[in-house]
Amino acid sequence: MAKIKINNMPLNVPDGITILEAAKENNFNIPTLCYYPDLDIKSDCRVCVVEVKGHKGLSTSCSTPIYDGMEIKINSPRAQNARKAIVEMMLANHDANCTACVRNMNCELQRLAESLGIHENRFDTVLQEKAIEQSNPSIVRNANRCIKCGRCVDVCKTVQGMSVLETAGRSHDAQVSPAYGKELKDVFCTYCGQCSAVCPVGAIMEKDHTHNVWDALDNGDKHVIVQVAPAIRVSLGEELNLPLGSIVTGKMVAALKMLGFDRVFDTNFTADLTIIEEGHELIGRLKERGKLPLITSCCPGWINYCEQEFPDLIDHLSSCKSPQQMFGSLAKTYYAQREGINPDDIYVVSVMPCTAKKFEAERPEMRVNGKDPDVDAVLTTRELAKMIKQMGIDFDNLREQKFDKPDEVTSGAAAIFGATGGVMEAALRSVKEILEERPLEKLDFDTVRGTDGIREAEVEISGQTHHVAVAHTLANARTLAQKVREGGTPYSFIEIMACPGGCVGGGGQPYGTTSERSRERIYSIYQVDRLTKIRKSHDNAAVMNLYSNYLGDPSGEKAHELLHTHYVNRRKK
């Protein structure tokens, strides 16, 4: 322990921590901006400077370790003035038209300016208007709002191992940009959207689909249906001021009905369907000595990555569409037929924790009629929260409602799709039981759970040992994919999710997502699983009815036509 003083208060703090951490332990929240849990300490923004006795300049609290006898002043006029001046300089080179910004009232720079008491700026504006990049389906970059904190660069480089975004130029011309000023669509970007989730301001955002959805809801000729991904119910609450990890399934359904959707469905239903299809694909490959390991394909960030960086592994990818797209194709075929609605009049919206899903929905392969997208609009968790706020819905006080049929019946196996290892576990529950033809003794496959970057496990099926592996984040995906490329891996089945923690940490999740918060959401997801009556996808009678009434056999002709897809080498020169 070290004895230090903060604002003259004597305190005992553990050795080796930073001023920022020591202050936080003692209930001082020193303002920060470039600092972000899980990311490197950059100390670029200099917002967290404090005065330390004996230090010549001011010291950044995020990067300065404490030592015994250290005397820190957060409150000195010198430090306060410096923090203020630094934020004023940022504001002078920032499009501060706050009311025109998606981050208004949810912006870290705005909050900082408010808490530092900045009411006028001593610096004249020096902003030079730059073009807004919106040429891809997922991500919008507005350089006029960028304050060069470097978080996006850092998350792209260190968490995802991609380095798509870099800092280019120098002095006040410094900009965050892909190499050589290219656009994201022209470089190796997977649209995972982690950059948009860590951006403190409105400089990197998901492409806004809320307007399209409002228009569709207003269009009397359209039958507007919505599906909600497994990870949304454990994270949406955070954007609406509910405690971390709140499970808000029923209120969310109620809110969606209040927004005007004709039907509210659960993507968990098609997640169960995915397990049946993917499970049969795996069983087929195991029996017929097909291409192994089979690698999951429900994560569009990973698919984008694989098609660009590991096109030679495309044969390993499951040909199953993701749950989002299975829902889309069924909505415009089976559902349209059942309800007697012209498919052209059905407008399918999905709510996803993901920005890459917007890209996935626009892929030409994802159009059962050959021209229109099966999924018409994709909202992120943040966008749905925004729509709920726009309607002035008193979310916390809503009476819980159930999903519409048939999707009200879903399994716990589908629920855990939202956590890293979840698809693996869901598949194992079904594959093992189907192959062994007797009930599972234990439903929880604990060895594939957890948050280690790459996890390996051995699973006994019919007396035979199968090796499986799970990876999350693209950096870990690269490591695992490289192993597969080199050959000789023992794995039969691999699950890969592009985002840290899986979909709970997706690029479309609430601002302020950290690994710590993701772990809470994962906990809630397994809670949903435990509380669900049906825990195995193949026990979902509604799904099995769909096969007998419409699809025929799993992996059969009709199933292949509607539920499977193919991949292409999209390597950029």
Binding site: R46, L58, A82, M89, S171, A174
Partner: protein, 423 residues
Amino acid sequence: MMREHKLITARIGKINPESIDDYLKHDGYTMLEKALSMRRIEIHDHFEASRLRGRGGAGFPVAVKLMALAKESRTPKYVVCNADEGEPGNFKDRYLMENNPHQIIEGMLIAAYATVATEGYIYIRGEYANAMRIMQKALDDARERGFLGKNILNKRFSFDIEIRSGAGSYVCGEEFALLESIEGKAGRTRVKPPFPTSVGLFGQPTLINNVETLATFPSIIDMGGKAYAEIGTETSTGTKLISLSGNIKHKGVFEVPFGMSMRDIIEKLGGGVPGGHKIKMIQLGGACGPIIPEYMLDMVIDFERFEEFESKTGAGAIIVIDDRFDVFDILRRISAFFEHESCGKCTPCREGNLHMLKTVEKFVNYNATDKDLNALESLARVMHQTSLCGLGQTAPTAVISTLHYFRFAYLNRIEESNIEEAV
């Protein structure tokens, strides 16, 4: 004390810099031989006794760095020579490289032996094509004669040196930006701590010193640390290369002992200001140094004395500016320089230099108010106190020093500006 004290420049003029034979004839590489015959701890004792401080600008005690690197057990360890002499008004490192390259190599070898480092880099400023050519030839010759490579002088000591260069960025003279540049990345500094001696080049323990500092190492082995410490003053030992330029008769590099007054350097060594003009001010250290008035010239060259400018001695440049020049024109050039050279990593330097330039321009254009004066003063202080690296911390030095020593110039300019302040 009006003459040069030629210690590290003693051989210059006597040898052909491109001939290793010449260097050897003048006892070249004998100090390496001597060092290799010593126990490492003895070498460290000599450096400690010498009280040598870094000559690149910051004046950090050399023995402390050497010992820190020696104590690191992680390998490989690197010795990096900072020859990115980008500070305007400085040209003494080029002078050493072009006129006595082997002495720098010998100094690096001594440093490597003392710290058990195995690989070295000389990072030479991109514009120094001639120095680069001469250093490369010196390295090739030294390697051919067995002073670089494996088992140097048949001892269990191996070390080799490569030259690296950047694309011409001032900030690459900052040690971390320099290391990033060697690694092939954009020249931007890193967060400290850790310091280079623990996590430096390619994440390995690294000693990084200026050309002049390393060129002094053979002299310390030669004379012994104690004898070296007798040169100069109590607080600043040894000699210093001064790059003298501006409105002065004899421009050039002079080696003087610490303790010589600036007036002596300018008048006795530099021959004073030509054309009957008078000195108005000098800038000390380079663009990042303080601008001081003529009446302060009796101040002696000394690390401690210069502390009051919060800029130390800098790298030893003296830029003489005579009475024909306007202080604001000078400041505008300096501010424009930093506005161009900031790497853009930290906020106060990235944004601050532009605001500083704009404010200085108001004074240049007779367009300034009291408010501008206050803003400039506050901005300069914030940049100095909060910037991440030396560039941003010292970019406002010229402004800060003139606000102090030439305050009347600011006040007069505001009065002459005739701007009605908005009430």
